[in-house]
Every structure is written in C-alpha cells, then in structure tokens.
C-alpha cells in the first residue's frame, strides 16, 4: 500500500511538472499592443460569470470586424468576440458550447463566412483555437469529435500540450517563463485592432464576383444546424451574420444562408449589401477586401449598434457597479484605439490615401 501511495504522489508531481512545462512551451507569439488571437480564447475565461449580453463567434473576419468595447462605449451592452483564426463553423460550435458554460448571452452572432471554407483547417489553426481552452467536458467532446480526425497522440496533447510543443525547447528563454504567468485578460474583448491598409482597386462588384466559395460542405452544414439547435434549446436569439467581404462572399453565398435562415426561422443579417452600410473599400480593408481594418471595423460595429438598438432592449451596464471592470477596460481600450488610429493614419499617409474617420 505504501508503494502505491508513493507511486500516486510521484505521478501527481509528474503531471504537475508536465502541465507547468507545457505552459512554458506553448507558443505565445501572437500578442501585440492591439491584442486579438491568443487573447480571444484565453481572455474569454477571464470574463466574470454571466456578464455577457451578446456573443460574436467566428474566424478572423469577425475578430477584425466587430469591436465589443465600441458597443459597450456607445450602448453599455456587454459582448465578447470569441473566435480563432481560420475557425471553421464546427469549431465555432465548440466555442459557443464553451461560452455557454459560464455565460448566458441573449443574442449570438455567428460569422457565416466560415460556412464556405472548402477544406478543413490546418492543424496549427485548430491548435490556436483549442490549446487555450480550459479543460472541460466541451473540450473533451471536441477532442473526441471525428470531424477533427485527432489521433490518440493528438488527443493526449490537447490535454497536455507539452507533447505537442516539446520541440520548442530551443526557443525557450526567461521571457517564455514570464509569459507563461501572464494574465491574458482581453481589454479589446477578443477584437483585433488592425492598422494595415490596402485598398481594393477593383471597386464594388463582389456580390456578382467570386463563384469559388459558394458551396457548403456537408459537415459545415451539420454544425450550423447544431448551432441553430443549441441556440433554440437555450433560448438564445441567433443572428447569422454576413460581414463585408469581397474575397469570399458572393450572391450565391448570401442566397444560400438566407434560405437556411428562413427555413430555420433565424435572423440573417447580411451586411454585404451596398445599400445597407457605408464601407469605403479604399480605406476600410487591410488586405484588399478580405478583412476589415480598424476604420472598417468601426463602421461595421456602428451598423451592429444600430441594429441592436432598433431590435432589442438590452440593458445599459455603464453605471452598474457590478460591471466596473468594463469601465476600467474601456479607458485602456480608448487609449489603444487612439494609438491604433494614429498608426493607421501613418500607414495611409505612406501610400497617399486619405482616411475619413467614422464617428
């Protein structure tokens, strides 16, 4: 018996060291002044329970397109942009499930551009989504979901990342150890303030343009329905969101999502409609039409604020003492925003583009 107790203690010590070393070895290279990426999944767990009115889920289009702090600043509505780069809709399904463990949002916006990915994500992309998710039943379900084709080794390495990132020992220095202790509370609430600028020279013709991404893979559709059913089950209003995108979105995409939305009785908010929003493709995109920069994101967020105010009666938390953490973060966010605006102006000047700041 003594031996087994010793063995048990030894295994606990081994596990503890493995977790700690895993924290040091896991990559943390995607952080900058304007946050996003690693901050989104890690920062989500730092939000106190039941503080969110709205949740945005999706991939890079949404984390560069919608700013929850701007919504809070103007309306006092709390929201979070829970996302990961290149996240497919089945990954969004697990983000939503994970979010619902601690939060009870009234409205969930799902970025529908993720429906049209023609192939599954590369493993590093998946890692960036789930490596930072706290261990829970949702994470275990994700690990075991056949859609990800995880091998036995992969499954173990999602729980103990040391097995996946052991190769990084050559890059480890004192900073890595310091970073492993860092608090990844997201000031921007999952939003990434992009300061790049690359105009779209072809002008506005995207709803008739790209035909490549108009088919929805069966597994993507399956998970969209899972999201729809989950929201119905939890009594959450689901909004399928079509964000401005010249590279992927087209008329067929819009029609397909509309058909599903009508059939399932959910809302489809397609911002890819020229009449509905004031996007300036000369100044608002960071990559010629695929993603918004901070100017474009400000405009889109304003559009969503209008939509929220006209359609829902959500509480204003700005004077609520229980939400003082949001007011504190807002001050830091405003400084970051100003800094980002200065930087994008500089970038615009460098390519002789005049930018018009949205209100």
């Amino acid at each position: 018996m003594k031996n087994f107790i010793r063995l048990f203690i030894f295994l606990l010590i081994t596990l503890f060291i493995a977790i700690k070393l895993g924290n040091i070895l896991i990559p943390k290279g995607w952080t900058d002044d304007f946050q996003g990426q690693i901050y989104s999944p890690k920062g989500f767990s730092k939000i106190p329970e039941n503080q969110l009115d709205i949740l945005f889920i999706g991939d890079s289009s949404i984390y560069k397109g919608v700013s929850p702090m701007q919504i809070y600043e103007k309306t006092g509505i709390t929201s979070y942009n829970y996302n990961a780069p290149s996240a497919r809709v089945y990954m969004s399904y697990y983000f939503l499930q994970n979010a619902l463990l601690k939060q009870q949002p009234k409205v969930v916006f799902v970025d529908t551009v993720t429906m049209f990915y023609a192939r599954k994500e590369d493993e590093p992309m998946r890692r960036q989504s789930f490596d930072y998710m706290d261990l829970s039943k949702v994470k275990i379900d994700m690990i075991n979901d056949d859609v990800f084709d995880n091998s036995f080794f992969d499954k173990i390495s999602y729980i103990l990342p040391i097995f996946r990132y052991h190769d990084r020992w050559q890059e480890i220095n004192y900073d890595s150890i310091k970073e492993s202790k860092k608090d990844y509370q997201s000031i921007t609430k999952g939003f990434l303030l992009s300061t790049s600028i690359e105009p779209n020279k072809n002008g506005y013709n995207y709803l008739n343009g790209n035909e490549e991404y108009n088919e929805i893979k069966k597994y993507n559709l399956e998970y969209l329905y899972k999201i729809i059913n989950l929201c119905k089950e939890k009594n959450i209003e689901l909004v399928l969101l079509g964000l401005p995108d010249i590279k992927v979105w087209n008329q067929k995409s819009s029609d397909t999502i509309k058909k599903i939305a009508d059939k399932e009785g959910v809302i489809f908010l397609d911002i890819n409609d020229k009449k509905k929003y004031p996007i300036n493709w000369n100044t608002d995109t960071e990559d010629g039409g695929g993603h918004m920069n901070i100017i474009g994101a400000t405009r889109i967020t304003n559009y969503i604020i209008d939509y929220l105010q006209s359609n829902y009666r959500l509480p204003d938390h700005r004077q609520d003492k229980n939400y003082s953490n949001w007011d504190k973060d807002l001050k830091i966010y405003q400084l970051k925003y100003e800094k980002a605006i200065k930087r994008i102006k500089k970038n615009a000047d460098a390519i002789n583009i005049k930018i018009e700041l949205p209100l």
């Binding site: 990559p27 290279g29 960036q128 990132y165 052991h166 050559q170």
Partner: protein, 495 residues
C-alpha cells in the same frame, strides 16, 4: 502502435492491470491476449501467418517426438514449410531476379510480386527453426499446449525486433506463476526509460543529420561524421528498442536475453559480433555453424585438408568453410538483396583475413616488441574495430554497392557546407553530445561490472525520484517525435 508511442504505454499499463488481477496460473493467457492484440494492431490480417506457422511447428514437433523412423523427413518438412513462408514473402523478388535470367532461356518466368511482410517474420521464423531443431536434436520435450507455443512465438515485447529467444529458456519465466513485484517494476522503468533515451533522443536525432546528408549525395569530410552518426543511430535505435522490450518484459516478471553487450568496446570483429545482436549470433552458431560443421560434406572436406602440409592453412580452411555459410545467412537475413549478402561477407572476409594473417601479425608484434597488454594497444584495437564497423554500417545503409563506393569517394571532394545545414542545430548537437556522454558512462560502468540500475535503486527516495523525473522529462522534451513545431505555420498573420 510502435514501442515508442503513447498508445503502447497505455496498452502496457492496461495489460499489466489485467495481468496482475488475473489468477497466477492463467496469467500467461493475458499475455497471449496482449500478444494477439498488439500483433493485430500492427499487421491486421497478416496475423494468420504466425498463427498458421505456429500450428505447423507445433504439430511437427509432436509428430517428431512420436516418430522413430521418419524423424528427418518430418523435421525437414516442418523447417521447409516454416522457412517457405519467409522465402515466399520476403525473398521471392530477390530469388526471381537471380533465377529468371536462367530460366528465361527455356521460356519460363517467376513473376515479381511484392508482399506486405507480417511484422517480425524474420525473427519468429528463426525462433521456430530453433524450436523444431532443438526437438529434433532431443534437447527438450515439445510443448503440448498449442496456445503456450503461440504465446512464446508472438510474445509482444520481442516480436518486432527480437531478441531471438529460445523456447526452453524463455518458457520458464513466461509460464511460471509470478507475483507482482514493485521493485522489479521500478528497475524495469529505468531500463525502458534508458531505451527511450537511446531511441528518441539519440538515434532519431542522429538520423535527421544522416538522412539529410547521405540521401542527397553530399560530399566532403562530413561524410565521415555522418558515417559515425549512422553507426550511433543504428546501435541506439536497435539496442534502445531491445532495452524497451526487456524492460516491458520485466514489468511482467519475464526475463528476455540480452542482445547487446557494449559492442563498441570490442577489440576485434569476432568480439564485436559476440556483443552485437547476440541472439542472432548465437542462433547462427547453433543452427548454421554447427549444422554445417557436423555435415558429411564438411567432414569430408576436413579429411581432405588435413593432408595439406601447412597446418595453419589447413586449420583456416576448416573454419572458413562453415563460417562462409554463417556470414552468408547473416547478410541475407538482414535483407533480400545482394548488398546485404556482401555486407555479411564483408565481415567474413575481414575475419578470415585476420585468421589467415595471424602468424604475420604475431611476428610483427614480437619483432617490434609491442606490449599488447597496455591501455594504448587495447585502445588501438578498439578504434580499429570501430573503423571496420563504421565502414560496414555505410555498406549496410548504401542503396547499392556503387552508391557505397561513390560515397567513400565523395569524402575527398571539398564542400562548403556548415554543420548546421542538415537539420540539426548546435543545440541539437549539444543534446547529442550530452546524451552520448551519459550512455557512454553507463556502458563504461557496466563494463566495469557495476549494475547501474541496482545502484540507482539503492539511493534515497528523493534522489531516485529526481532521476526518474529527469528520465521522463528529458524524453518528453528532447525526444524526436510528434508533428514537430514550425513557427511559421503557427505564427498566423494572414487571416
């Protein structure tokens, strides 16, 4: 499910739990279950070959024991069928390439067909031949229980890379009733850990440099480094797997024979092969060397050579004849191609040259009054042996003989390459040097008859735990496994 996979570790833990819960008398059935599961995971339907071959050997041995006048026939038939599986599956293409040019003359042709080899066929076939031959030689009684025989032939720790075991030796611990021994498991853990270090930290790391360098026909003096690293890779890979196999067996209180005894401390090629892949050497000695030595043809030859006036030459021929077959089979066993036969005969040639020129060497030693008992002379012998082995390893690795010759020639062609151009960083080389130093120290201690595992076990708990944790985390962190980390694929900026 390889020996170095997480799946294998989980499999072992699961099997151990069931094994020690089961009544002692029937524990071997759990091993059989584990064997079949493990084998099935690796070879799927091809499991049928080992099951069938065991049945043939089992029946052959029973019949052999009962028969008085047809013993030789039964023996030869059993050996032929068992060997037939190996020849058809492994050597058919090689044989076709040799025979077809001849039989083409009479418009015949053996079709080329590439079969998927059942895992461990080269190993278990030798064990089967050893078993049936021992029964034929009346060394011991045949096993009456087919399933026990199947447990022996498919014993999972040794099925993939050996050691080639003998039924009369392994069956003693395989089927005896044993209790769980915690201390034994601790010792086994160290051996398994040592095997993992050899395989994942050293062999697979050295392999990166070797593959990147030798596969691309590079030139320059780094060829010598890659030859040395390849020799290290092969040794660490093979002996590491054997350590894991022996350690895993020890977890079940089953003892597997040693297959390597620090071969790089050998002072001659003969000694090297007594220390390297010992179980194969012993098998060749018992079943090829003795069979040929006591054959009629060899007896006749011996009679004939006794008439030669030069005693040394006559003694040379007496050894050279049976040894030729030993080294021929040794080479052929390693692979179905002419290159492997030449690999075997390379050692044969060097050994025979040594025997033939022994009087000359003795003369040189006496004329120059060389003291052969000094450390420096022994060191010279060790270095000489290692050089021969390193060249032999290149022969083993080369795709063809001409590739081997051109690689040797390329040593003399200058190249501007840097050490770090072939997949390893300076930090990797540091890890290699440190881990080689550790393995060298352990080997040296073993050479001095120090039982390192016992020494560790004698230490206080805290020190032991530090050692265990060092083993575990050096393997996890410095081992070469998994998908690898490429910063560029992880640093995501575009979307």
């Amino acid at each position: 499910m390889s020996y170095t996979s997480l799946k294998f570790i989980v499999f072992i833990i699961g099997l151990m739990l069931i094994y020690y819960i089961f009544p002692k008398k029937y524990r071997w059935t759990i091993i059989l279950f584990g064997n079949l599961y493990f084998y099935y995971c690796l070879s799927k339907k091809l499991i049928i070959f080992v099951v069938l071959a065991t049945l043939i050997v089992y029946l052959g041995a029973i019949l052999l024991n009962k028969s008085n006048n047809r013993r030789k026939l039964i023996y030869l038939l059993t050996v032929s069928i068992t060997l037939g599986f190996l020849i058809v599956l492994k050597y058919n293409n090689f044989l076709s390439s040799l025979i077809n040019p001849i039989i083409n003359i009479i418009n015949l042709n053996i079709p080329f067909k590439k079969f998927i080899l059942p895992i461990g066929i080269s190993y278990y076939t030798l064990e089967m031949i050893s078993y049936i031959t021992d029964i034929y030689r009346k060394k011991y009684q045949p096993e009456k229980n087919y399933f026990k025989l199947l447990t022996f032939f498919t014993f999972f720790p040794k099925i993939v890379e050996g050691p080639i075991s003998r039924y009369n030796e392994l069956s003693k611990s395989l089927f005896s009733e044993k209790s769980f021994n915690y201390n034994n498991c601790r010792k086994a853990f160290i051996l398994i850990g040592y095997g993992f270090i050899k395989k994942l930290i050293i062999a697979d790391r050295a392999g990166i440099f070797v593959s990147n360098f030798l596969d691309n026909n590079n030139t320059g003096s780094y060829i010598i480094l890659s030859m040395i690293l390849y020799t290290i890779q092969i040794y660490m890979d093979f002996s590491g797997c054997i350590d894991i196999a022996r350690g895993v067996s020890e977890l079940f209180n089953i003892e597997l024979p040693e297959n390597f005894k620090r071969p790089f401390f050998s002072k001659s090629i003969e000694e090297f092969w007594r220390r390297w892949h010992i179980s194969l050497g012993l098998w060749l000695k018992d079943y090829i060397f003795f069979s040929i030595s006591f054959s009629k043809i060899n007896m006749r030859l011996n009679k004939l050579v006794r008439k030669i006036r030069f005693k040394h030459l006559s003694r040379f021929i007496t050894i050279a004849f049976p040894l030729f077959f030993v080294w021929f089979v040794n080479g052929l066993w390693h692979g179905a191609s002419l290159k492997y036969i030449i690999y075997g005969l390379y050692y044969y040639f060097i050994m025979m040259l040594g025997v033939l020129l022994k009087p000359l060497f003795d003369k040189i030693i006496s004329v120059f009054k060389i003291n052969t008992k000094t450390f420096s002379y022994k060191l010279f012998q060790i270095i000489r042996t290692n050089i021969i082995v390193i060249i032999g390893m290149l022969l083993f690795r080369a795709s063809t003989i001409s590739n081997f010759i051109s690689t040797i020639g390329n040593i003399f062609i200058y190249s501007k390459h840097k050490l770090t151009d072939f997949g390893l960083t300076y930090l990797d080389f540091n890890i290699l040097i440190i881990s080689l130093f550790v393995t060298f120290s352990i080997s040296l201690a073993s050479e001095l008859n120090i039982d390192v595992r016992k020494k560790i076990e004698e230490q206080n708990l805290l020190f032991r735990w530090v050692i265990y944790l060092l083993i575990i985390f050096s393997i996890i962190i410095f081992g070469i496994y998994g998908k690898g980390y490429s910063a560029s694929s992880f640093i995501y900026g575009g979307f």
